[in-house]
């Protein structure tokens, strides 16, 4: 079809003529004949807008929308109309990276405000303008921390999200980082177990709190372990928990990373999400990605611009702190709007409601014969249970009842993974008592 190429046949002809060309094919004379695609692309012809949207609706219609008790790093939070509308104004959506600050103050100021909010959530003074997702933020944190420490070994808590650990492993093939898993004990990381074996002393420790099992970790203890080993501390934190819990920065993190999806981004099959990244001031020159700073224009007006660009790939090239270029700006703006909508009271209330729904759900399920906690440590907004039936089977059965029951979780040698030892369950502020009661009843039926 080509609805989006405005040239009329007359205009095509006129422009070709002014170039001294006869046909559109002549534009590609520089492409050796042997390489030309004969017969064009083996794709169907374009559709009308109406037919296209109908095809998309049909695909969308073949995904089941269930009452969601699944979490595992992707949470079913409410999104108010303001957050659904404001970030999607076309000036934000169709802008490029703010290379010309004089006409990009909108995006730049929104990012400056986002950085401030992430800084407050993390308890650290520096935050960047976003990374791809929680996993990417963790990789960048490892790059920063190992470079700062000058050591390649990283102690990774067994409670870190298994997918994030997997991504770390993938990238380690290139970076050469040596990853050492540190086992969980009673649901939390047992740093006392860790010792530098043949992989040498660690440059960084990574702990997640709440961790993948939903358990609250003792960040101060992790800090001590880091200090004992002269390592930097990376904390992966749930930003919603920040509404109730002490900030990781306050407890000694060098770098705080997290997944920003809970603030205004729908589940979206896992993306686009938002990598939150904050660090101590001393690390600012190693910061990955973009940083927006406040400055002035020639007339002294307050203005914003991307700064310390010398860290970035387009300038530093092979020596850049990171290769990230396109990031998740629009999702960062969603996060900024959502946090401003929540405000001080709303964030606390959100965390509190999640914690209440979680406790109520957990107690309801634990009342079912044969159901036990997978870990004893205290939880906030998510928890793992051991069930008398294979969790994969449970998830399939409960889907028939209209529930996404949770995410099967395994723990092997104190390290969390997919697998099937238990079921990871989250109840957000959107879950009503009636939904939870019905879910527990359905669960009891399935487990009976």
């Amino acid at each position: 079809m080509g609805h989006y190429v405005p040239h009329t046949d007359e205009e095509l002809a006129a422009m070709l003529a002014s170039l001294g060309l006869a046909t559109l094919d002549d534009l590609f004379a520089v492409v050796p004949a042997a390489l030309r695609l004969a017969g064009g692309l083996s794709l169907d012809d374009g559709l009308s807008e109406a037919d296209t949207l109908e095809a998309m609706e049909q695909l969308a219609g073949r995904n089941d929308r269930l009452i969601c008790f699944a979490g595992a790093g992707a949470y079913d939070h409410g999104i108010p109309a303001a957050t659904r509308s404001l970030p999607f104004r076309s000036e934000f959506v169709t802008a490029y990276t703010p290379y010309q600050p004089e006409v990009a103050q909108g995006v730049l100021q929104a990012l400056f405000e986002y950085q401030t909010l992430v800084s407050r959530l993390s308890g650290l003074p520096i935050a960047n303008a976003s990374l791809y997702d929680g996993a990417a933020a963790t990789v960048e944190a490892v790059n920063l921390a190992t470079a700062a420490a000058g050591r390649e070994t990283v102690w990774v808590s067994g409670g870190l999200h298994p997918h994030w650990r997997a991504v770390l492993r993938t990238y380690a093939a290139g970076s050469g980082h040596r990853l050492v898993d540190v086992a969980l004990r009673y649901g939390v990381t047992d740093w006392s177990q860790a010792a530098d074996g043949e992989k040498g002393a660690p440059g960084a420790l990574i702990v997640s709190s709440p961790n993948y099992l939903g358990c609250l970790e003792d960040v101060a203890a992790a800090r001590q372990a880091a200090d004992r080993n002269g390592a930097r501390l990376i904390v992966a934190a749930d930003p919603v928990a920040a509404g109730l819990l002490r900030s990781p920065g306050e407890q000694g993190a060098d770098v705080v990373v997290g997944e920003g999806q809970p603030f205004g981004t729908p589940l979206s099959l896992g993306g686009p999400y938002l990598g939150l990244f904050a660090c101590r001031a001393e690390h600012v020159r190693r910061l990955p990605g973009r940083l927006v700073g406040e400055t002035v224009d020639t007339e002294g007006r307050r203005a914003y611009v991307t700064t310390l660009r010398a860290r970035e790939q387009d300038i530093r090239r092979a020596k850049a702190t990171s290769n990230v270029c396109t990031n998740q700006t629009l999702i960062a703006i969603c996060c900024m709007v959502q946090l401003a909508w929540l405000g001080t009271g709303g964030l606390r209330e959100l965390a509190l409601r999640c914690a209440r729904a979680t406790r109520y759900t957990r107690e309801a399920l634990l009342a079912i014969p044969g159901v036990e906690p997978l870990a004893p440590a205290p939880v906030l907004r998510e928890f793992a249970l051991r069930l008398p039936v294979d969790p994969h089977v449970v998830v399939d059965r409960l889907a028939d009842e209209g529930f996404l029951a949770g995410v099967p979780v395994g723990v092997a040698n104190g390290v969390t993974g997919d697998g099937g030892d238990g079921l990871l369950i989250a109840a957000t502020e959107r879950r009503t008592r009636a939904q939870i009661d019905a879910y527990a009843a359905a669960m009891e039926k399935v487990l009976a």
Partner: protein, 513 residues
């Protein structure tokens, strides 16, 4: 609040004043923090009949924060005012042309926005079992299939969330493949015109970058390539057309040479817009291709992201792709599959799924016929624009360009002190976004211009007129530019010298809050 010396309320910025909207004025828009008033709120939550346990009943005391986390306390009205005014201070494709070379800032069809917001796509949890998300799996599978047909490759991963992530994925695939052949190689060749993410990714991939110069033609220097090729070269990263917008005519020979040395060819797909339906990286001999769906396939840039950077590969690399991948089972249903020798995950989940849905929508809208038309329009606009400017701006290389071209302001700089930066800032006043400047690095005072196919001949002509006018202006004038924007030239040096990365870091922060 200070009216008539009266102070009846907290002294915060008024959320309902529009002087920062260029419609009205050029005031600074206050930050959301300056609008905050303790106790004000816009949030609400559903009725609940759950027990109202106190924090202390839910979490052991030592974990609880002593004081609430301070966030802006604003009304929905003030939040809406703030964000709406910010949008009036922001340029965008929807306002006008955005000829940033290498960025392919084409118009993003509104239909794609609607597709990406379908609840049946947006409300789906990424860990839902395959049986419950057949629509999503089919969408991803079909998109992957289409991308293979477009690139001439045989398998694809949709996980990489952007081009740079795609590059690193590709390099890790390269590494895994070499290791599977029992070799360790340490170097990757990159042309001196390459985008910065290429060398940065090479480093993260654990390789050293070896630069290959560009020759007088603006193409890869074949002799220099031959010099640098040896059995320690893992591969070469190219984009074709290259960042000068010129087609690497020797690509077949390059492929033969690199393959001959046991290396692989990586295709940076950022410039794919130029060759859609005309030729395919696979046919040129490339082994690995990343695509920037946020360029060629009209995923909007969102002020810097999110994008999507799928990686497609030739058959011999398919087994190494990241997983899980969508696959079609014998019974026609779809499932997740992880290749036998997968390098592992690249993303927390399945990549920037909603961006992938937008790209698939765009492909359906255009079809094979429309995509070819895209290449025609993109190249025609760029070629024609170059012709208009040729007399006035230097065009460092002779050969016909494809979707973009690089011009140089160096003569204008010598003549009248008009630098590429000045041209860029003046162009803003003319009603167009600036082109990419000072890239590629091999051209002095480079202006890298990519009009894209969605701009009409009239718009391209107006852009040409503006650039010609600017070249004719006196330079001093240009140094003042832009004079019509909400802020004038921004002091970038000061931003780095006196770093203020957050509102809380401002000297005045204490008082202002």
């Amino acid at each position: 609040m200070s009216s008539g010396g009266d102070t009846t309320a907290v002294d915060a910025a008024p959320g309902g004043r529009a002087r920062s909207a260029p419609l009205i004025g050029r005031d600074t828009e206050p930050t959301i923090f300056e609008m905050s008033v303790p106790g004000r709120s816009g949030w609400s939550f559903p009725r609940t009949d759950l027990p109202e346990w106190a924090p202390e009943e839910l979490v052991p005391a030592q974990f609880l924060r002593p004081a609430p986390l301070p966030l802006p306390e604003v009304s929905e009205r003030d939040l809406v005012g703030h964000m709406t005014r910010l949008t009036h201070r922001q340029y965008s494709v929807d306002l006008g042309a955005y000829p940033l070379g290498s960025c392919t800032m084409k118009y993003n069809p509104k239909a794609c926005d609607e597709a990406a917001s379908l609840p049946g796509l947006a409300a789906i949890h990424p860990a839902a079992p395959a049986g419950l998300i057949q629509g999503w799996l089919e969408l991803l599978w079909r998109l992957g299939d289409a991308l293979c047909r477009i690139t001439g490759m045989s398998a694809v991963t949709l996980q990489p969330p952007a081009g740079a992530a795609g590059e690193l994925t590709g390099l890790l695939l390269m590494r895994a493949w070499h290791e599977a052949q029992g070799r360790r190689r340490s170097k990757v060749l990159i042309p001196d015109s390459a985008h910065g993410t290429n060398p940065a990714s090479v480093t993260l991939g654990g390789y050293q970058t070896v630069t290959v110069p560009t020759d007088h033609r603006g193409l890869l220097d074949m002799a220099a390539l031959a010099d640098r090729l040896d059995d320690d070269v893992a591969g070469i990263m190219l984009t074709n057309p290259n960042t000068l917008g010129l087609f690497e005519e020797d690509i077949a020979a390059i492929a033969a040479a690199v393959h001959g040395a046991g290396g692989l060819l990586y295709y940076d797909g950022a410039n794919l817009n130029a060759i859609l339906g005309v030729t395919r990286p696979g046919d040129m001999g490339f082994d690995i291709v990343h695509l920037n769906l946020h360029k060629t396939f009209a995923v909007p840039h969102g002020g810097g992201g999110p994008g999507a950077g799928p990686v497609a590969v030739s058959p011999r690399l398919a087994d190494f792709l990241p997983g899980p991948l969508p696959a079609q089972a014998a019974d026609g249903s779809f499932e997740w599959m992880t290749p036998p020798r997968s390098i592992g995950r690249i993303h927390s989940w399945h990549g920037n799924a909603l961006a992938l849905a937008r790209a698939y929508t765009y492909i359906l809208l255009n079809g094979g016929d429309g995509l070819r038309r895209v290449a025609d329009g993109a190249v025609l606009n760029a070629r024609w624009l170059r012709q208009q400017l040729a007399g006035t701006y230097q065009i460092p290389f002779e050969r016909p360009n494809l979707h973009e071209f690089v011009a140089s302001a160096s003569a204008l700089k010598q003549a009248r002190g008009l630098r590429a930066l000045d041209v860029a800032k003046r162009l803003l006043e003319e009603g167009f976004h600036a082109p990419t400047i000072y890239f590629p690095l091999i051209v002095e005072e480079a202006l890298m211009i990519e009009p894209t196919e969605t701009e009409s001949p009239q718009t391209v002509a107006a852009l040409a007129d503006a650039l010609l006018r600017i070249a004719a202006d006196d330079g001093d004038d240009a140094h003042q530019a832009p004079r019509t924007t909400p802020v004038s030239r921004v002091d970038e040096a000061r931003a780095a010298r006196v770093l203020i990365p957050t509102w809380d870091a401002r000297p005045e922060a204490e008082t202002a809050k």
